[in-house]
Amino acid sequence: MSRTPSRSNRRTNLLAINEKIIEFFIRACGWSSIFLVIAIFCFVFWYAAPLLPKIDWFGHDGFFTSTNWHAKEREGATYGILAMLVGNFAVAAVAMVIAIPLGLAAAVYISEFAGPRAKEWFKVAIEILAAIPSIVWGFIAITMIGPILIKYAGATMGTNLLNGGIVLGLMSVPLIVSLAEDSLRAVPDNYREAAMALGANRWEIVYRVLFPAARSGLLAACMLGVGRAIGETMAVLLATGNKNQIPHALTDPMTTLTATIAAEMGDAEAGSPHSQALFTIGLLLLVITCAINLTANLIIRGNKRKIAAS
């Protein structure tokens, strides 16, 4: 076996240089997500900025305190988003009322009670549910759920808070199921085994051991569900009727922050106060969803550390 030292050393020298160049590109791509998050904040802020000092935040026609949204006016425009803000949280609340019990029950059934075949089928069904795009949900809301609500729930308009809540709830179930499953599965096996050794049956294990142990994971799951629901756009745009008012009944049409932007951005002139107002709403949305997501992920990571340490 002969070795050619000079050739091999030249080759490995090239390798070393090559390696450095490649590592540079890879590192740049790795940092891309940081760049993009910062960029998103910066650009949304930038195109909202001219309006920000002029906005009345808490006054009579205040941003946070009034429902008078007349952003298109050239004179005397007001930017009250209270109705949209309430709308966002209201529809998210209705959605969670539907999604959390359904999602938790499904997660408990899949991970604790179901046999292997049933488990597979349910997981496929949940995956199909998760794959439906939000615009299709919006379509379903208008063409199918709306008429049902008019006929059986006494609604005057089919697109309302309840419709939005139903659709958003069904959309959120897969997320709740998968996160709840994860946190149930993360409970160490020896908790389960200890409970079984003490004579607990399956339900008692779930109720007395798993739920308390997975409590913070489940809380994080709900938070992430709310975060997603608040950020949802197309489905609520079509399902809630896009009416700028605070809903007082489930059958009232309403609007959300996301829907307002989607509905009005097409007409807003670039650089106009109207467009800046919409960017301001976008900024608010960004802050709210980031805060919720970061908190929820902190909880999840704190959990993982607790489990790793135990």
Partner: protein
């Protein structure tokens, strides 16, 4: 008397605040077998990692002192990959790469640019013969390396290490996860390989060191307690603790 191949000078390695090696100094002549013995967690594996600079893959590791191969400080070698190719490594846990046996042994030469089929065929056969694996696998060279038994995978690792004709062959407790028969086969191989390369044998099995090594270095709790010719260390150690360890009183 052979010239010095490998030398450690005041080598200290820290993982964060903890010292893994403390002021290690000794030298290894060419074509000899040195046994590095000591109880678990004494720093022996870390010592091997400093030779081929794979310690650099551990973020929190810091080194002081020098490691010299052929009187050259390994840290001053620009091309770390050429250094690593001169040093063969065998680990405690056998590793078969997820490719055919042939590709396993041909891996390193191919990265070097050797693609000529005849050359590779010869290379693979020589290395597999050298590591006493050829007869068992010669008809199934396309079998996945991960499907071999532990003892076979360890010999495959040895074959991979030999594929670049290393000057220094390091073995880190190579026998702990394999059967005694394979261990014996590999020990015979090592005694033959001694003529072509310098062998660093890290082991916790003192009798293995006694069988195979020309010199022995005893490392305990990150310190080099004592080193010298095998016979001298086993029969008349200078430190009492050396005698107790080699006797099997602890570790």
């Amino acid at each position: 008397m052979h010239p010095t191949h490998l030398e450690f000078r005041n080598l200290t390695v820290r993982y964060g605040p903890k010292k893994a090696l403390d002021d290690i100094s000794f030298s290894v002549p060419k074509h000899s077998v040195i046994g590095i013995v000591g109880p678990a967690n004494s720093g022996k594996s870390t010592l091997l990692k400093t030779i081929n600079r794979t310690l650099e893959f551990i973020d929190i590791a810091r080194t002081e002192g020098e490691v010299l191969v052929d009187s050259v400080n390994v840290k001053e070698i620009d091309n770390v990959y050429s250094l690593r190719r001169r040093i063969g490594m065998v680990f405690p846990l056998p590793v078969g790469l997820p490719m055919s046996i042939y590709d396993n042994v041909a891996y390193a030469p191919r990265r070097m640019g050797i693609h000529d089929k005849k050359h590779l065929d010869e290379l693979v056969e020589t290395c597999l013969r050298d590591s006493v694996l050829w007869d068992e696998v010669k008809d199934r060279l396309d079998l996945l390396g991960t499907k071999l038994s532990g003892g076979q995978q360890q010999r495959l690792t040895l074959a991979r290490a030999l594929s670049l004709e290393p000057e220094i062959l390091c073995l880190d407790e190579f026998s702990i996860a394999i059967d005694p028969v394979t261990t014996m086969k590999i020990e015979e191989v090592l005694m033959r390989l001694k003529e072509r390369m310098t062998i660093i044998l890290v082991t916790n099995l003192t009798q293995q060191a006694r069988r195979m090594a020309d010199a022995v270095a005893f490392i305990n709790a990150s310190e080099l307690i004592e080193w010298g010719p095998t016979g001298q260390l086993f029969t008349a150690p200078k430190k009492e603790i050396t005698g107790r360890y080699l006797n099997g009183d602890f570790g």
